[in-house]
Subunit: 540 residues, 2 copies
Amino acid sequence: MTAAMMTFPLNTSDILRSAALRYPKQSIVSALPGGQRHQYGYLDLLHRTSQLANRLSAEGVEQGARLATLAVNHYRHLELYYGISGMGAVVHTLNARLFSEQLSYIINHAEDTWVFVDPEFLPMLEAVADEIPSVQRFILLCDEAEMPASSSLKLECYETLLADQPTEFSWPRLSSDTPCGLCYTSGTTGNPKGVLYEQGSTVLHAMMSGSSQYLDFNEWSVAMPVVPMYHVCAWGVPFSAPMYGAKLVLPGAGLDGESLQQLIEDEQVNQAFAVPTIWLNLHNYLQSSGKGIDSLKMVGVGGAASPRALVQTYDKLYQVYWMGIWGMTETSPLATAAVKTPEMANMTPEQRYELQSSAGRPMFGVEIEIFDETGRPLPHDGVTRGNLRCRGPWILAQYYRGEGADKFVDGWFETGDVAVINAEGYLRVVDRSKDVIKSGGEWISSVELENAALHDEAVNEACVIGATHPKWDERPIMLVTVKPGKLLDEARLRDTLQQKVAKWWLPDAIIQVEDLPHTGTGKLRKVELRQSYKDYLLAK
Amino acid sequence: MTAAMMTFPLNTSDILRSAALRYPKQSIVSALPGGQRHQYGYLDLLHRTSQLANRLSAEGVEQGARLATLAVNHYRHLELYYGISGMGAVVHTLNARLFSEQLSYIINHAEDTWVFVDPEFLPMLEAVADEIPSVQRFILLCDEAEMPASSSLKLECYETLLADQPTEFSWPRLSSDTPCGLCYTSGTTGNPKGVLYEQGSTVLHAMMSGSSQYLDFNEWSVAMPVVPMYHVCAWGVPFSAPMYGAKLVLPGAGLDGESLQQLIEDEQVNQAFAVPTIWLNLHNYLQSSGKGIDSLKMVGVGGAASPRALVQTYDKLYQVYWMGIWGMTETSPLATAAVKTPEMANMTPEQRYELQSSAGRPMFGVEIEIFDETGRPLPHDGVTRGNLRCRGPWILAQYYRGEGADKFVDGWFETGDVAVINAEGYLRVVDRSKDVIKSGGEWISSVELENAALHDEAVNEACVIGATHPKWDERPIMLVTVKPGKLLDEARLRDTLQQKVAKWWLPDAIIQVEDLPHTGTGKLRKVELRQSYKDYLLAK
């Protein structure tokens, strides 16, 4: 029997063309440096993106070429997302929080030929200029008047590049597996690895993640991705929001509470997306300023565990639904979410907060499962911890250039997370598998211990790692930095911990340190610490 | 560069498994004969569908085999949709309104091996029993107690088939182009042609048509497809509603106003889908009974032009949003819809009704275009009429067994409709291209003339066809049947027409007839009438 339906691969350019047809005047608002705002509609976005694509074509940019961006969330970055991917090249988003050795490593690994850069990040490129021979063009994301007076690099102006180009472009029809985006993992162990997104996977991810199963966008949505476009594609919101006609509010570089409150109020933002710290800072600002966020109805929160107290605060003080989410660079990135359900209306607040602070359930198209060390699936009982794997059409099958092949097992992607799943399918990530402490055959979550320690008034940051133990193989030890002007009281800290975790989880040692090492994206460098402290308990 | 994302084709079984995980207790309510209601949840649906799939596998049903259904909308039919397609076979929905010669033609053309049939439709099969040698099994959709006492056919009972089968099934992972459904066109010209749906096209259609761009389903939806599951897959609602967690209300055979009002009220239906006649009948019932439909918020209406007066009635009397839609068997079937937009809040009621009674705009994934006779695209000015074509991943590329190849042109499907598109992208279908009257190089819409005639109090039905004319090539003539007890006043009818259409559209002859011929699905058989009346104006 012959297949009967059209072979018609959907492309990122279809998202933009559909948005320009259905929602031509829906706004894209960008906060620019100096408090300025830029505003235009989806039809304008299509026209300028077409100009960009025409210019790239005229310059001979080939299908599959990697063109990099180093920029915050604004309309020009959005034009690059669509213009580069739409004409068949690969938009490689460089993380602005990278250290320079990682930046040059990644640019070389990707063999980027162009870099589009915000003026504020130009010094990062100047610092590695001698180490990135593949880069032929440096394009400043500004107009002529804003170009830097001088630079060690030969700079071009983005607006000049676009000027005089036709506002229509003949978008190619690209196969589903044509690469369209590239993003590197943060590399807590070893070198960063590249995740190459495809036309088909990107469109499918936008279709489902923008639906009522996840971000729930429609023409009444005013969506603000605070999560950066320079990392994990701002959770795909630059694709899903236009697909479903949401107004987009791009916050630029101002991610402090005051800037965000102002944007939310001015633009009547009703859905916003960020890591927990952003929402803590906004809450603190609202408390000190007395200002409000009346338009805001939901926040999507991932990238770190959702603190229960903050979920409650956003519910009670601001009537904002906190939706816990989970995903990774390797999952496009959205996979699971704690969406609001009709059943929640009949729950106690505590029951609701429990669900909201979880990672939620997989959306259609994603499967998740937990496995033991031998690869057997584990029960979904809300208690049993296992190695989390996932699969689906927008989940990675191999890293760029074939690295990290051990992460792909039996058709699954090995996330490196340790998680529990309950009977209703809700996921709770409890730790990274390399960070979990294996004590006498049982697992102790470093993350849960670290979170518990933050309830002590003196603790600034805590880091829990496993140290070798003669009897239990490993036992947890806790390194803490202390808040300025506070004194660490170990007995009090142990009391605090004991209220939150099982007694046998309590660390064998609590050690005050001056500093804790972090990666460019703010994660603890536990590999180094484990190395330094591995014999600590043996020596003790 | 190698593709990097998982090759993971999504299947109809994924929809059911996801629904059972995310919405295990969400209800499926079925109205059964005799006023009974059946109710269970999506997890129950998965269990029973698994039993069915296990049984079909045990019986040796092979991938690609065509298993037919002849049934109204109820839970067993839903189990067949998922069970047959999920295990890799093809669910072939037989239209219960077919004449017997068409029924046997279609069964033979498809080479169906099993037929699952509602007891009420058994006589249709008994009548053609000698003409359908491919059918080996006749399964009655009822339990043992409801089995007919005798039949010329060897009958089996559906419930007996399922009994004792395991409630878990190992669903195969099927390639995107695996056929999963088959539906025949109504065949107004020539024999019906088969449209073979695929796993991938069916899932994509459900993803987008269930989203806020179209049917707008979520866990608060209570969706009632009145449009039959035995034709155009009930607009795909059996797939899109479970995907997005809607409660499903399946009305069985009772499509009269009283039955529908009762179901809407009892089950708190808020979204329902049917052709205009259904809504006219419901309105008439509500007016005569004084009953209400308070829970209903929107109706999706297609299959025929939306009468403006009814759009207004549903708005003003019932506060129901009337959403005009357009699609065909060949388009899976949904393509365009007049979804509610924020802009409508600032329109006059008349402006809104104009949009609501149109066919709306294409959802993401579907492209539409109008062309002249030479294949050149025409302007979107809301006035220019052209031949409507469409394309996209759930649009047909070839009919079953390669028939009707002339309908596929330059990568487009030639719909056979004549339409206008306005500057905002809204589609209005004005006629079937074979029915349009070409008078002096200009086009006259038979449908618009027919609709205008219905405003005359004596006209029961009108049919407009083109008759050969020595000067203008063709001119319209109108055949009318008259309501019982009324008299046709031709002068009054001409006055009525003149208020609705341009003067040069007025028919050259108005002819009262006793009867008008119809197809099995209720469409006018214009081919025959054109043949009979082609020389009418020459002879006159």
